[in-house]
């Protein structure tokens, strides 16, 4: 009896160990998808990988792909042969003067010539070693798709671009077709068609892929997000989910192009008076709201006025506005007391200056919009249907959407909605969001744990995208308490080892970054000014600065939220470093709503932690303004900001910003620890994804493969 039960115990233990081990094992050995290290994060990464998986395009022997390298005409000949599965054709006499019968590409070139895809130049040459231009690419792809008939019907372009007049007439019809939504095999370069420029390997891969796998209309796109939106009134909220999806429903007068600069969206054209104090905006005509009504100047005036009352940067702009009126049904005019760069404000992704119908504004006044289709009415390509708390937000394609005709350029230009329905599911658990994409329950999920990054990268059905999200920060109370002293703040900064803080909080180095920049690398304002103050790791210097400041060991009350574990961990690591320099720190750990309430009272705290999303324009940075908790009053900084507000020339603004950022690191109104990234994942069946200059994702110009 004894031995029997002992054996049974052993057998049971072994079974349990096996079960646990099975659970721990993943699916290692799955074929990797990220073959080319130099395409990670590239705009055409997905198409390159897919085309490569089909055996059509290859990398170089050293494992790279070189997506921005040029493509020779002989090379594209081989690609076309593979795509169309043509047999090589090697007649005894060459059609082309400069392609000998023993040329390595002879069979390919002759095959595509026979098929009519490329016919060479009028002088009888083929120029096999010349680079394919973008105009030539358009023609080749158009022919590949058999669009000769369609092309012959096009006499003048339906699209427009900055250089539309530079498109050679022989390629014009195919260029036009290439940018139309049902074909979509051409992409622009920041609003330019650049027909005479050489096509890149990435552009060729994209074109070949989409030409042979055209976009499909229809279906439901399912997206998994972290939390409920607290409101969809984009004029008043700064939260990410409402702003992201709000920008699908509502539109603004200006938006951001590929380079992160403001370009007209609802505005057709505008002019600025010589003294830069009068802006006259001509609105586009025939733009429909989701309720069928046409958008007119009255709607625009009412919307921007409301935004000017309720949003932080709206108030900033309107403090300089003398009048804002409608001149006629499609023209509005803003007269300023001092010159201000108005488009930068109107394009803002922080408290978005969305256009609502005037009737809605008259009805709700300054109360936030409710979650009903009677109040959530915009001009955007998606229409709001419903929000069911903890379940989903449902949007559908707006059939009467008035798209712009200029080629897609960042958030500007043509916006095409391919799916019928966009279903945004609320899935609070991070792991479950990822598992949902793995099991094809969702097409796209935001905010996935970096711990899963390695496993997701090798899943052949999943694409990952690491996007710059925010910079983690501690703000000093400069109104009351020990940090009214600049020396104290400098001492704090001197003691910090930023790398240790970021590494300890975020782990995987793909998900965080260091650097003194307060504007992202994708914006024109990126600079490393102030780098000598950033990441000093100098405890000795901190000690001496503390002594100079006359610090007597007063406890420093540090407000941090337990709802955000990353920031909390940064505080823990920093606290340790600071205590070595002699700071006495008391951490006050509270939940986020409590922190928001407490920080408004300068008697209750000395430092609080938050993170700041990367925005599109330095004038929106909150930490350097006087009214944001922390209360930074600096005449010099105020002067820089005011100069930036009125200046429209990019180069001048960059110079002013460099000085401002340097001042930030000398004066230290707040600490920046480092950048944190956010991980999005999506199925490889989702086409058209790209990163924008602002850290959001947008579901126009994206479609699902069937």
């Amino acid at each position: 009896m004894h031995l029997k039960s002992k054996i049974k115990k052993i057998v049971l233990s072994v079974l349990i160990v096996i079960l646990i081990t099975l659970m721990a094992g993943g699916n290692a050995g799955v074929k990797g998808i990220f073959k080319f290290p130099d395409t990670v994060g590239h705009r055409f990464e997905l198409e390159i990988i897919k085309l490569s998986n089909k055996g059509i395009i290859e990398g170089y022997p050293d494992g790279t792909f070189r997506p921005d390298a040029m493509v020779k005409r002989s090379e594209i000949a081989t690609l076309l042969v593979k795509v169309k599965n043509l047999t090589l054709y090697k007649p005894s006499i060459s059609t082309f003067k400069d392609v000998a019968t023993n040329n390595w590409a002879y069979g390919y070139i002759m095959a595509i010539q026979k098929d009519g895809l490329m016919v060479g130049y009028p002088d009888g040459t083929f120029k096999p070693d010349g680079n394919v231009t973008r105009a030539e690419l358009a023609v080749v792809l158009g022919r590949l798709k058999g669009l000769e008939n369609e092309a012959s019907k096009i006499t003048s372009p339906t699209i427009t671009a900055y250089d539309i007049n530079k498109v050679p007439s022989w390629s014009m019809p195919y260029v036009d077709l290439g940018f139309q939504p049902q074909y979509n095999f051409l992409t622009g370069r920041a609003g330019y068609i650049a027909p005479q420029e050489n096509a890149t390997r990435g552009e060729v891969a994209y074109g070949l892929y989409v030409a042979t796998n055209p976009p499909k209309f229809g279906g439901t796109l399912k997206v998994a997000v972290l939390t409920n939106p607290v409101t969809l009134d984009t004029q008043i909220t700064t939260a990410t989910i409402p702003s992201t999806f709000g920008m699908h429903i509502f539109e603004t007068l200006f938006t951001y192009d590929e380079n992160g600069e403001p370009i007209p969206l609802l505005v057709d054209s505008y002019n600025v008076s010589n003294d830069a104090k009068t802006y006259t905006f001509k609105l586009r005509k025939g733009i429909k709201f989701h309720n069928g009504k046409e958008m007119t100047a009255d709607d625009v005036v009412a919307s921007i006025s409301r935004w000017g009352r309720l949003s932080t940067n709206g108030k900033g702009l309107f403090s300089e506005v003398e009048s804002w009126t409608a001149l006629d049904n499609y023209t509005t005019q803003m007269i300023l007391k001092n010159p201000i760069n108005v488009p930068a404000y109107l394009a803002s992704d922080l408290m978005v200056a969305s256009i609502y119908p005037k009737e809605v504004i008259d009805k709700v006044g300054d109360t936030p919009l409710k979650f009903t289709p009677e109040e959530i009415i915009g001009t955007g390509p998606y229409k709001f249907i419903e929000f069911v708390s903890d379940v989903h937000i449902k949007l559908i394609r707006f059939e009467d959407y008035s798209t712009r005709n200029d080629i897609s350029n960042g958030l500007g230009g043509r916006r095409t909605v391919y799916p019928d329905v966009l279903l945004i599911d609320i899935v609070p658990d991070r792991t479950v969001r990822a598992l949902g994409v793995i099991t094809n329950l969702y097409d796209f999920a935001e905010d996935i744990s970096s711990d899963l990054y390695g496993k997701l990268r090798i899943d052949p059905n999943i694409m990952t995208s690491t996007v710059l999200k925010a910079w983690d920060s501690s703000i000093f109370n400069k109104k009351q308490g020990v940090f009214t002293s600049q020396k104290m703040r400098q001492a704090f900064l001197a003691a910090l080892d930023m790398e240790a803080c970021m590494k300890g909080a975020f782990g995987n180095p793909d998900f965080w970054d260091l650097g003194p920049h307060l504007m992202g690398k994708s914006t024109p304002y990126y600079t490393d000014a102030g780098k000598e103050w950033y990441n000093q790791k100098n405890i000795e210097r901190a000690k001496s600065l503390l002594a100079e400041a006359g610090y007597k060991g007063e406890p420093i009350r540090w407000l941090v939220s337990s709802d955000y574990p990353d920031r909390y961990n940064i505080a823990l690591i920093a606290k340790d470093q600071l205590e070595k320099a002699g700071f006495v720190i008391v951490l006050k750990v509270v939940d986020w709503p409590t922190l928001l309430k407490t920080r408004n009272d300068p008697t209750l705290w000395d430092i609080f932690d938050t993170d700041f999303r990367y925005f599109s324009d330095p004038v929106f940075i909150l930490a350097i303004g006087p009214s944001y908790p922390g209360w930074y009053v600096s005449p010099t900084m105020a002067q820089y900001l005011s100069q930036m507000r009125s200046e429209t020339d990019i180069e001048t603004r960059k110079i002013i910003w460099e000085k401002a950022q340097t001042l930030f690191w000398e004066d230290v109104p707040a600490i920046k620890y480092g950048d944190s990234m956010i991980l999005y994942i999506f199925r490889t069946t989702l086409e058209g994804y790209r990163k924008y200059s602002i850290s959001y994702y947008f579901f126009f110009n994206m479609w699902k493969e069937s």
């Binding site: 409920n228 607290v230 008043i236 708390s389 899935v427 609070p428 099991t439 709503p593 409590t594 309430k597």
Partner: protein, 314 residues
């Protein structure tokens, strides 16, 4: 009996009044402001105060309490700050997943719990008993989120039998609903079976040591009849109590499981309403939960009377 029932139901009133008062007090003592949460961290104090005024939050606290009680006596629980829906409606809309999850979980918990409890009692001291005991301790100790994730990975990812998250309402088809509730019910069922199993075991052991059991066996009744008809019936009372407690726990919302599986139930609603400082909705949920507990208690007591003829109310 009827008088007894009426008295018990009337006892709900003071319970609800007290729960309402304590809830109100707690909510208003903790820092945090729904207006700030709506407007976001970059709102100015002016905007916040304006919204607070509109939401009626600037009235003195005793006035707000009085208004709330007044509305309560009229049966009006007020409106949710966030969804603008009447509180009762907001709660009822979330009942379906919670109720179904509760029923399925209770069935699974009872099935596993009572069976393993009986088996453990009968085979007391043997390795079967030890396994049953170990499983019970395991069930009591493991966090429900861990078990949820394990089940999701095993049955949602390795084999694609069930969706990893989401809820299909009944109107989309009962089978679909069942599929989305299978893994959550298994999780809650297993976790809650532990307590039921332990109580069943000890209750059965106590009953089986009674003389009348020996008499029944001596009389020649089959083993099965003795256990199920005589022993279990007498052991059932404490088991029913525990099942009642489990039911109460499940209805008040299994927040963790609902969050992981993205089920729009009462649990998630309670959590979000607290985090957003949605005072009317939170108070409504508190009252609802208190009512459920009181009624479940009453149900258990009535069941006692049915099962044990020695118990009489009146």
């Amino acid at each position: 009996m009827r008088q007894y029932l009426i008295k018990r139901i009337l006892a709900l009133v003071p319970v609800l009044l007290i729960v309402g008062f304590v809830g109100f007090l707690l909510l208003n003592l903790i820092p945090g402001d729904p207006a700030l949460v709506i407007l976001g961290p970059e709102a100015t104090l002016d905007q916040v105060n304006k919204l607070r005024a509109e939401l009626g939050l600037n009235l003195p606290i005793y006035l707000r309490l009085i208004y709330w009680y007044a509305r309560l006596f009229r049966g009006d629980l007020g409106y949710s700050i966030f969804s603008s829906l009447p509180v009762l409606q907001a709660i009822f809309e979330r009942l379906q997943p919670t109720l179904l999850l509760t029923i399925f979980s209770l069935i699974i918990a009872s099935a596993i719990g009572i069976t393993s409890g009986i088996v453990a009692a009968l085979k007391r001291g043997t390795w079967i008993d030890q396994i049953a005991t170990s499983l019970s301790i395991f069930g009591l100790s493991i966090p429900s989120f861990w078990l949820s994730l394990i089940l999701i990975i095993m049955f949602g990812v390795w084999v694609r039998w069930f969706p990893v998250a989401g809820y299909e309402p009944l109107k989309n088809g009962f089978l679909k609903t069942l599929r989305t509730l299978a893994l959550p019910s298994l999780t809650l069922g297993f976790v809650n079976s532990a307590f039921i199993s332990r109580v069943t075991r000890s209750s059965m052991l106590e009953v089986m040591s009674q003389d009348y059991i020996k008499v029944a066996r001596a009389k020649g009744l089959s083993y099965r009849k003795v256990i199920l008809k005589h022993a279990l019936r007498n052991a059932i009372l404490p088991i029913i109590t525990v099942m009642g407690l489990t039911l109460g726990n499940l209805v008040s919302g299994a927040v963790v499981v609902e969050t992981i599986f993205a089920l729009p139930g009462i649990g998630q609603l309670a959590l979000s309403s607290i985090l957003r400082r949605d005072y009317p909705l939170t108070q409504g949920i508190l009252l609802f939960t208190a009512t459920v507990f009181v009624l479940v208690n009453l149900l258990v007591d009535i069941l006692y009377a049915f099962l044990d003829p020695r118990i009489k109310y009146g």
